[in-house]
């Protein structure tokens, strides 16, 4: 008798469990069904000039272009409904390496000619299509309280100064090394200047924004970045100008990728960047306009 009751209880308990399970399943299916509403029918665009289908343009751009290109992209998307720009910002050398390994891209905007040349040599950019779209200058940055009291370029060779540069593979890193080499050739700085400064380096960063970030954090005494990088963070760092005769003018070339799926759109984007409006935006972000 007891066993019978036990069996009945067991069966009812299982029955209840099954019912609960079925209810949960039903609710889950219902929710799943509800959460996927029927796709909205796209209305045909009133302006026939822009492409009707949604298209994506992949732009690989140097880290220093992050903010300027962000706005450029927004303006371009507003003028071209249906177009979405996808960015990848990193050191130009990293982007070039990725492109050479086959990364999908439509446009490459580099911080120096060398990385464009590397991609041309690898065959993913046609020779001669690259055009200058911006220029940049170098500047010294220090934390706001300037702990090492850097006033001039010569102070960078001072004892105990902690300097952060970008790695020499990064365009701004190479520009910095060129700067020191150029200074060393001048009598005012003596030949010992460059090695002394380089002995003060504590880290070679992977991209220019890392240099800036560590200076803002106050971890080092000085760094060398582009004037465009300081434009947005002016309140968080102190800027020390580099004499014009020593300063490097960084040339930024832009080029469409040869096997791009959107060659027409890529060309239009490049034209926009080099247009008066595009140049204005770049200047507003601290770049120097290309001599067009």
């Amino acid at each position: 008798m007891a066993r019978c009751l036990r069996e009945l209880a067991y069966r009812r308990e299982n029955h209840m469990k099954h019912r609960i399970a079925l209810w949960i399943l039903a609710i889950a299916l219902l929710l799943a069904g509800c959460s996927a509403p029927p796709p909205a029918q796209p209305t045909s665009p009133p302006v026939p000039a822009a492409p009707a289908a949604a298209t994506t343009l992949t732009v690989l751009a140097a880290a220093s272009l992050s903010d300027a290109f962000g706005e450029l992209g927004a303006q371009f998307e507003a003028a071209n409904p249906g177009v979405t720009i996808t960015y990848s910002f990193a050191g130009s050398q990293q982007l070039a390496a990725q492109i050479l390994e086959g990364a999908p891209a439509d446009v490459f905007a580099s911080a120096n000619q060398r990385q464009i040349d590397a991609v041309v040599a690898g065959g993913r950019i046609t020779t001669g299509v690259a055009q200058t779209f911006a220029r940049n200058r170098l500047t010294i940055v220090t934390p706001p309280d300037n702990p090492a009291h850097i006033q001039t370029l010569t102070d960078l060779a001072g004892p105990g100064v902690k300097l952060i540069l970008a790695d020499r593979a990064v365009p701004v890193g190479q520009y910095s090394l060129d700067l020191f080499a150029k200074a060393s050739s001048l009598p005012a700085y003596t030949a010992a200047y460059s090695p002394t400064v380089l002995a003060n380096v504590v880290s070679y960063e992977d991209n220019v924004r890392s240099v800036l970030a560590k200076i803002i954090l106050g971890e080092a005494d000085a760094g060398i970045v582009y004037t465009s990088d300081v434009a947005l963070e002016a309140a968080k760092v102190r800027q020390i100008a580099i004499p014009d005769e020593l300063n490097t003018i960084a040339i930024y070339p832009i080029a469409p990728i040869a096997d791009s799926q959107q060659p027409e759109l890529a060309r239009r984007f490049i034209d926009y960047v080099r247009s008066a409006e595009g140049q204005q935006i770049l200047v507003r972000y601290g770049f120097i306009a290309a001599d067009l």
Binding site: Q93, L217, E219
Partner: protein
């Protein structure tokens, strides 16, 4: 009550004449489902080795820069592992043996460094121990600057890798039968003696395994290192950093370093497993 054993209950029929016509699906099923992941894990490494240029490899192997990088990686990871052993064992013992208030919280806190993205670890370390960090003023007053030094490299590795050892060791200690320790105590062993002759030898496989995991994780550490310790060849540029930058600068160099790292890791892990098997076999 006793059910009749039916022929279909026997899952593996004895081979009968004509069995060659039957497809051995069951025998193949397990390996077939196991193969994709194994292949996925092995093939990229094979591809990496295949892309190596042997002339460049032999030239790079002798270059002082490569030797410097390897030496730095080996020394820092060794230091990290030793410190983990020294400081992690008491912590693991505490976790395994004592019930204290907040034990679950401590246990979960120890999981965090393993789960956090390494770059987050790097930023956290910088904000804590950097010049302008939480301990910055204290360290500066002691004339200690940690960021951008080899100490920073070891600290970054310690942060991300030590929890592996502590967790494994705690599990090992927890698995040792208390009765054995108690009977040793009855026989006159001191606490330390009990530890030395009973607990640690019995927990040894777990301790050793944890140590190896820590070493391996420290060797591969990148994100926290580049943010906290920076990148300076010879001082803070460990092998992963050199490989990452090498990829952008000189692919052959990156491949060489990658191959060396692969070879070292494989050799060490293989040796350790062999040693472990010897130990376990003898014990």
């Amino acid at each position: 009550m006793t059910a009749k054993l039916r022929e279909s209950d026997i899952s593996r029929p004895v081979a009968a004449p004509g069995a060659t016509r039957r497809m051995p699906w069951r025998a193949l099923a397990l390996p077939l489902t196991a193969l994709p992941l194994l292949g996925f894990l092995v093939l990229p490494l094979v591809a990496l080795l295949g892309r190596l240029n042997l002339d460049v490899l032999s030239a790079q192997l002798l270059s002082p820069a490569v030797g410097q990088t390897i030496r730095l990686s080996m020394m820092t990871t060794l230091a990290t592992t030793l410190i983990t052993l020294l400081l992690g064992t008491p912590l693991a013992f505490l976790l395994a043996r004592t019930q204290f208030w907040g034990r679950q919280a401590v246990d979960t806190l120890l999981d965090l460094p393993m789960v956090l993205p390494p770059s987050v670890a790097g930023i956290a370390l910088l904000i804590a121990f950097g010049r302008r960090g939480l301990f910055g003023p204290l360290l500066t007053s002691l004339e200690l600057e940690i960021a951008f030094t080899q100490t920073a490299v070891v600290m970054a590795q310690l942060f991300v890798a030590a929890p592996f050892y502590v967790k494994a060791a705690a599990a090992g200690f927890a698995g040792v039968d208390r009765e054995l320790e108690q009977s040793a105590a009855l026989d006159g062993a001191t606490r330390l003696g009990g530890l030395r002759y009973i607990t640690i030898p019995l927990a040894w496989p777990a301790l050793f395994g944890g140590m190896i995991m820590t070493w391996a994780r420290a060797l591969g550490e990148f994100g926290a290192t580049i943010i906290f310790a920076g990148n300076f060849p010879g001082r803070t540029q460990t092998m992963p950093l050199a490989i990452y930058l090498g990829f952008e600068r000189d692919l052959d160099l990156a491949l060489t370093l990658a191959a060396i790292l692969l070879a070292i890791s494989f050799a060490v892990l293989l040796t350790v497993k062999w040693m472990l098997r010897q130990r376990v076999g003898a014990g």
